[in-house]
């Protein structure tokens, strides 16, 4: 009987353990791509060129080589400065003067594909249809991506110092003004357009 009392705990104790568990917490982290910014470097300006009759048009070229897929030296494309190689006027306006294309810097996540779209604002005395190009800089040349049809894509992956850094593209904009009414000589007319840039 005495031996039984001593042995009983030895038999029971190994049967009493319960399943053990451990929980370790890992911190999962991620950041979404940075907020895209669009900064106007140079305001688009047709100059004092509009003729006065209703329905007359004036077109400002964004680039002398505004063809999708064309490459230009960065210095000629406005990438390494704020004066692109464009500005020619066509139409019924005062052609000789020449205008100033708009220059806009788009900053997004490096190596991220972006989609650039431009749309016209509400017409006033004049209607403005934006036409332009986005440059994909690679350090020495820029590839033009046409946004004339209100849709373009670009990849911001190159480092262009000191003007453009990784994640930056240039948007060069011209467009077509159509008089909606008879204009008054000496008056200034404004219009707007919208640029939307999204990650693809």
């Amino acid at each position: 009987m005495t031996h039984f009392k001593k042995a009983l705990p030895l038999i029971l104790l190994p049967l009493t353990y319960s399943a053990n568990a451990v929980e370790i917490t890992a911190n999962l982290t991620f950041d979404t791509l940075p907020v895209i910014t669009i900064v106007e470097e140079t305001q688009m300006d047709f100059g004092e060129v509009l003729t006065l009759a209703q329905s007359e048009t004036c077109t400002l070229s964004a680039s002398v080589a505004a063809t999708d897929g064309t490459t230009l030296a960065d210095g000629d494309s406005g990438v390494s400065g704020t004066t692109p190689d464009g500005g020619a006027l066509t139409g019924t306006c005062a052609l000789a003067a020449g205008g100033q294309p708009g220059v806009y810097t788009i900053t997004s996540g490096a190596s991220a594909d972006i989609k650039v779209s431009v749309t016209a604002g509400a017409a006033t005395e004049i209607a403005f249809n934006p036409i332009g190009v986005v440059y994909e800089p690679d350090g020495t040349t820029s590839t033009l991506v046409d946004v004339a049809n209100a849709l373009g894509t670009a990849t911001a992956s190159a480092v262009i110092g000191p003007v453009l850094q990784a994640g930056q593209n240039r948007l060069i904009m011209g467009g077509v003004i159509t008089n909606q009414t008879t204009l008054i000589a000496g008056d200034a007319y404004d219009s707007t357009f919208d640029v939307e840039v999204t990650y693809q």
Binding site: N20, T25, N27, A112
Partner: protein, 235 residues
Amino acid sequence: MQPKHSFKKTLLAGGLILGLGNAFTASAEEFTIKASAIPDVAAAPVATFTTLSFGQRIKGQQINETCTIRGKSEALDLHLNTDSDQSGTDVDASGEEFGSVHGNACIDDTTGTATGSAMIIEIDGSASNTVSISVPTIVGTGYTYRASAETCVVTYLGTAADDLCVSLDSDGNATGIQMAAAFGTEKTSGPATATDYNEEGTTRLILAGELTIDAPGIAQGTPTTQAVAVIITYD
């Protein structure tokens, strides 16, 4: 009077003998013995593999698209102390990096780079038991995290070139993971750089996973930190 006196002496002696006899036969003592349950399961990140991150290039508006951290598919024997990796060699055949991120909800890492990171967790416990692993799915604000098939846990099988890294199922679970590999066998058949590693009573877990962007998405420029529970239980 004299005979009566003699009787008393005899009675006292008999009682004394009886009392001594009772003391010997009725004695009881309690003795303490010692026994312990199997050791608790312990888990800790392996040095240099201590972070779980999808990086900083998540496309927060890619609704229903995914981004995956590559863990299992890019793990080497060196990472896991296994005797065979998933490609059957000690060399990363694909050239992609452990911890690299891929998918439509992030910017793909290029070959040889990793902007994300996967964790490796060492699990220590009883060699005589198997364990279950559970990494529950997390539904956050604008995203869902799943451990996915890129998360796996090694079961060392004790003979050459047969170790497995068992993927977690779609619910983030794996069961029956053994930690009882023979030390000598594994040590000699493991990678050359894994000297003095004793798998007996241990295993290793790769924690990677998949991120799905849920409507309405996540705003640009949003940093997110989310606790992920890894639960290890004896079967």
